[in-house]
Amino acid sequence: MADEQKPGGEAAGEPAKPSPPKPAAAAPKPPATMAATPWENDLARELKERFGDRIGETSTYLGQNFIVAKPEAAVPILEYLKLEADFDYLVDITAVDWPKRPERFDLVYIVYSFPRNERVRIKTRISDGYKPETAVGVHLTANWLEREVFDMFGIEFAGHPDMRRILMPEDWQGYPLRKDYSIIQQDQRWVQENLGIESGQ
């Protein structure tokens, strides 16, 4: 089981009964941050030994464990988890945009292990323009998932076999899920050329 901190050892996923919540770190002036508690486990210790200072923190929040790593360590961590720790299934790759931070994007990998029945999240912080390494070499699932992250956020993955847009049209300009892309914004030029109308709004 992943978290030995919470009593009653639920599986990382759904609580059978609510775990005692920690109150959110409510500092009145700076913005509140996530009330995560440190994650003490064999897996966390092994990762810290192996990767040293490339791992920032290992924490758990609401029974879900995550580690914050440096961007260049993401794929080596995935590889280590797959080969040595049985985390053979990549669940998801996604990104979150925090425009006020200098390192704007939070790239999140979620992996799951069938034998252990637990999930781990690996979060890395990357800035606009940084090209992280692709995870396709480790998990084939990453192919379309990374294409979607590129399409929606503009994060290009170095070494990806087929880095092009997947959901938006091929020649769309702009990255829709960024926070500075308004919800009624559109690529005016594409709409006029391809649909023949002034605007889709």
């Binding site: 759904e14 879900q64 299934y89 669940v91 699932t141």
Partner: protein, 378 residues
Amino acid sequence: MKAASDASMPDSTFLDSTELVLNMGPQHPSTHGVLRVILKLDGEKILGTDCVIGYLHRGVEKIAENRTWAQFNPYVDRMDYVAAVSNGLGYCLAVEKLLNIEAPPRAQVVRVILTELNRVASHLVWLGTHALDIGAITPVFYCFREREEALNIFEKYCGARLTTHAFRIGGLQYETYEGFEQDVKAFCDMFPPKVDEYEALLTGNRIWKGRLTNVGVLTADECKEYGVTGPLLRAAGVKWDLRKAQPYSGYEKYDFEIPIRQNGDTFDRYMVRMQEMRQSVRIIRQAVENIPEGPIMGKVAKVIKPPVGEAYVSIEAPKGELGYYVVSDGSTQPYRVRVRPPSFVNLQALDRMVRGALVADICAVIGTLDIVLGEVDR
């Protein structure tokens, strides 16, 4: 004119005259939605495929950032529109996890009943359309006739048949209507003989077996590499179901089996889904026997403001592992809702499944993947 998508095709020049690039366009009766598949053929043999998706992209994740937590609930049904109740369950469970609350027991049992009815309804659509693609025209009428009964129960419960918006964050909005238990029990009694009928029509049929065995084989290792979940994984021999591995909403109380098969071909997936329908009826029967009394809504504030944090919650939707990664920044609107769609990830495996097969098998394989483009594109 070289198509931009040729970049992913296997090595071959465009001028090679034995190869044909055929477009199975977004408007096609067998692609279950607006899916475009560009096939590279050598006569009838498929050398490679390239899926072009995004024709139904509605920007659901962007909409989530502009609505409040409760207002986003109706949008979630519209992704996998065939199994809308499961989508709603996943989202409500994710937000409840962030709020660190749980729905009361009565709400949990009713949620299980509706979700399993929804699983049956979704598999009926799959069976009808899959058989129709292969060429068996009769089962689709029978499947939709049974689906009508399930949709009538949804309509009487929450007011809509397809985009149900059945659950709310923290529990349920509507109390069960008078006659809910009778209707559900009548459905459970009516349904298993119908599954026997579908099996009589299809399972022993030599044409069905001939078209489905050894088509679209995906072994267990390939499934894990491609991240494929759901009935495809179970047909390949991996006994894994999120309802048993990481139970949610009270599933640990029910006694049901996980059907698995060994070969991982299309016929095995058909058998797995038929068995899943039977197991769903078993769960519904157990659940409707004793629905506990009590409140249907947990203690949720009028205005939902989860504390700063994030959570990833996934459920076993009829199509696979449906996951919601919700990030909250403490305000009334979600900061980021990421939906991990099972159909999107399963569709990646299409290329591996049809290499070397014949053109007629493409329809069978797309049918067996059970994709819904609303979920693939969101």
